[in-house]
Amino acid sequence: MNELVQWLASTGLSNWIAGAGWVVPTVQCVHILAIGIIFGSVLMLDLRVLGWAGSDQTMTQATGRYSPWIWGALIVLAMSGGLLIFGEPGRELLSTSFWVKMAMLAIGSGFVVALQLSLKRHHETWDVDIGSQATTKILAFVTFFVWIAVIALGRLIAWDAQIWGALFPRSVS
């Protein structure tokens, strides 16, 4: 990983981002707006599954409304995040928060994929069948907190050693 960080830091793109002070703040703004859009959409889908919002729509309608925004904003998120990694490879790739965040991001995205596949397969009966099961509602609840964790860990990258050092004192010598 150290070699990858060194190679990334030696690229022209990385040096350009590091040299132009405005790039990182600008890309971070785009990154925050994108996660906001994803989070709002995920929240609405979770609330729909839980029956706390959107009961005027079927789950297929609700997912049709929000999933393009989730995937569109996820592309923006990945591209802006990629630029941030290029700009500050050590800060990102050598931080614990970053890798836990990537795991949470994979799980959170996996839930969205699973929902869409399940709807595709059972779109006629989903609302009365799968949608009414307790497991589905629990998963909706879990998804909400997985995306909360993605946001929290993204912000914690800035204080990585301080936070993880305080949580696991022995891991930092």
Binding site: I151, A152, R155
Partner: protein, 181 residues
Amino acid sequence: MDMHSIFAAIEASPVGVWVRESPNVLPYVNVLHVIAIAIVFGTIFIVDLRLLDFPNSNRAFTRVAHDGLKWTWAGFGLAAITGLLMFTANATTFLVNTPFWLKMGAIGLAGLNMFIFELLTVKTAAAWDRGAPTPRAAKVAGMLSILLWASVIILGRVIGYTKGVGVGEISIDLNNLNFLN
């Protein structure tokens, strides 16, 4: 009392000292602030898009607003509390930070936009609630809301890069004053 002594008193308050000096409180407050911002922007964006008839006007505006805006308010409440905590910890630094005041101004304008919309435009909602194009006033309100809240987020990020810049010069001036005394 001038502004600086008021802000210095806020900073010296027990809450200010606690947030500033307790280990890791500032990072966790900051994390909650970002979560709150994501909730505010993510939910109000959905309502604003509906005001712009995007992607369509199939769902009643009142339903979309009812589903989303309570979360916007909850998120705003959390953002205000966590923001106030961060402000209290370093009040004098924010006093001289232009992006901070611009951000407060943008929040004020976003509030004013919402107030005018709720006071006037919403009263006509029965006519365009569902399946009909929204009036121009609603579209303007939706567009302004997206732009203003995005500005709030951008200015908030700028604060992180400008806060404390120039404070070094002020401390040098203070040293000179002490020296003269």
